[in-house]
Symmetry: C2
Subunit: 387 residues, 2 copies
Amino acid sequence: MGGFSFELIRTDGAARLGRIVTGHGAVDTPAFMPVATQGSVKSLAPSDLLAAGAQIVLANTYHLMLRPGHELVRELGGLHRFMGWDGPILTDSGGFQVFSLAKLRRIGAEGVEFRSHVDGSLRTLTPESCVAIQHALGVDVLHPLDECLAHPATAADTERSLALTLNWLTRAVAAHRTGGSPGALFGIVQGGMYEGLRRRAVEAMGALDLPGHSIGGLAVGEPKPVMYDLTELVAGLLPADRPRYLMGVGKPPDLVESVARGVDLFDCVLPTRNARNGQAFTPDGPLNIGNARFARDAGPLDPGCPCAACRQFSRAYLRHLFGARELLAYRLLTLHNVTFFQGLMRDMRRAVADGGFGPFRSRFLARYGVESVGGSADTDSPADSEA
Amino acid sequence: MGGFSFELIRTDGAARLGRIVTGHGAVDTPAFMPVATQGSVKSLAPSDLLAAGAQIVLANTYHLMLRPGHELVRELGGLHRFMGWDGPILTDSGGFQVFSLAKLRRIGAEGVEFRSHVDGSLRTLTPESCVAIQHALGVDVLHPLDECLAHPATAADTERSLALTLNWLTRAVAAHRTGGSPGALFGIVQGGMYEGLRRRAVEAMGALDLPGHSIGGLAVGEPKPVMYDLTELVAGLLPADRPRYLMGVGKPPDLVESVARGVDLFDCVLPTRNARNGQAFTPDGPLNIGNARFARDAGPLDPGCPCAACRQFSRAYLRHLFGARELLAYRLLTLHNVTFFQGLMRDMRRAVADGGFGPFRSRFLARYGVESVGGSADTDSPADSEA
């Protein structure tokens, strides 16, 4: 496995076309990472992900450290071999889940102590152990332990939290340098809804010369314009020659608006989770396959989609499967949604390559419809099993 | 679509190698039909069934008449197109489900009246409507409405029931002849645990010159030797030039023992349902993937199996998926089990073709282990959603 690199190929306004290269292959950016929470993109096999056009997946450090355990994964040859995915894998830090899923017991300068949501056992995560866990998993992109504040938070609390997160980042960088892993450790820009703190976070990270930067703490319930403005601000402050990852975003219009503001990488449970609730994404906006109007609809979910769900089955059949709670419904809708998200990213890459991102953005948003401007934070509820 | 034919190619003792040809293609016998209760073999796509080697599937008349409704399926081009399966489809009569899943309201000479388990609506099934429903579905092999007695039943009750079933059969044959369907209507041999009634059933059906015969009312809780003896008796009475289908059977050793007694066709929810409970079939008997001894097992479920679950993933990963309730676990275990059952049938066909069925049977049973002689009826509980 080689190292990590990023090439910025072309820009169109703030939108960027790029290419990340990792020891497990390349990722064309802007890119969307399907979420393999527990080492599986729910209902899909790796071959489905390839067919859908995915080049990289995200896995959750928190979930995998608890089950099956990172040492077990290491013994079995690392996460790539364990889950049968040869492409790049990015892991989050586990911080978000510790602060949302687990029963938090103590947080201190050293790290966090919490009870596992799986078996109630007492666990700790420190900046050092968090990096060591990701080394055991053998992933291509790692994240440092960070504190994830509940929204809304006061400026004083956010400032205190940012200081802790930056301190942890320094320790994570040191732990990563001595760990001998070829993976790339990204820094997470926190700072809540406070522009000054966001600026301070970016400045503090500059000296660390990190291979990539992640924007955390957005899509947590703030108004959409705030999210877009802070994304634009932070992306504009970050070095142009490193990839920028907006964590946990989002709906298709959010992806387009964020690419327009200079973001390169995304992840969200939306395409997979919503599939299991019967929602299919299309260029005309989402549709709910359980709707009675699809009962006799012989057409495909999305006539323009190349996925097997659209090529082989009718809306009527998918509606029947969903109504009958057939497992195949979840699988086919997930395959479709992941394919749709990958297709959207590919379309954006082409638009930037052709210097036509602005018109693409207008066309996409007009066709997708006004539904698009609703909040996306509701779909990221930490209570869900996929968080 | 052409008609229906059966060619008996070779026998080896009572075991038979044959070939059924339908308007939707051929089925090499002995054959096992995966169960697509509601128009989907749970978690699998038609392409998976082909990869597993399946040539025919079974669907449930009762389930499909209630949801999505046979008229809807007819409108959408029939069940083959609806579910995306171009191969032969066999439907049962719905009788078994009416007598086990539904709330039975009335049974009379005319037919049965029951409440749908889906929405509580009042429904009727007559021999004529049962055939008409299967015509609407457009399947290749149909079954007449029959009465399914609870086990055990007295000789008097069984005799009365058989008379009703035979009367309904005559009406079903008449309805089928005037229905203009190219499908083949099989007769169901009932008669409970009573040899004399089984003989009477076969005799009564002789005059109807049916294209195939199904053995019903077994694997309902009777001792295994009784099931084998009655299977042998009935198979021996049935005409050699028509296929014989043993309904709802069964475990791998049951399939081998029944082929040894002259059965050509089987269906059972065992490979699919048990997969969802974590049970994988192997030549060495079933294993439960949730078992702790597989936690660090880097080997495949079954080293000799060609399925994607065995080629691409370890027992450790499958155990992790199953423990984490990941949908992919159910899909991969189902794919494996269906592949195993198809492989077993193929091996039996080869053994008959080579004149070596006896040694094959001995070898298979010895390796599969004594677990094999346990009852299979417990796995066919009508309370299960796949019944």
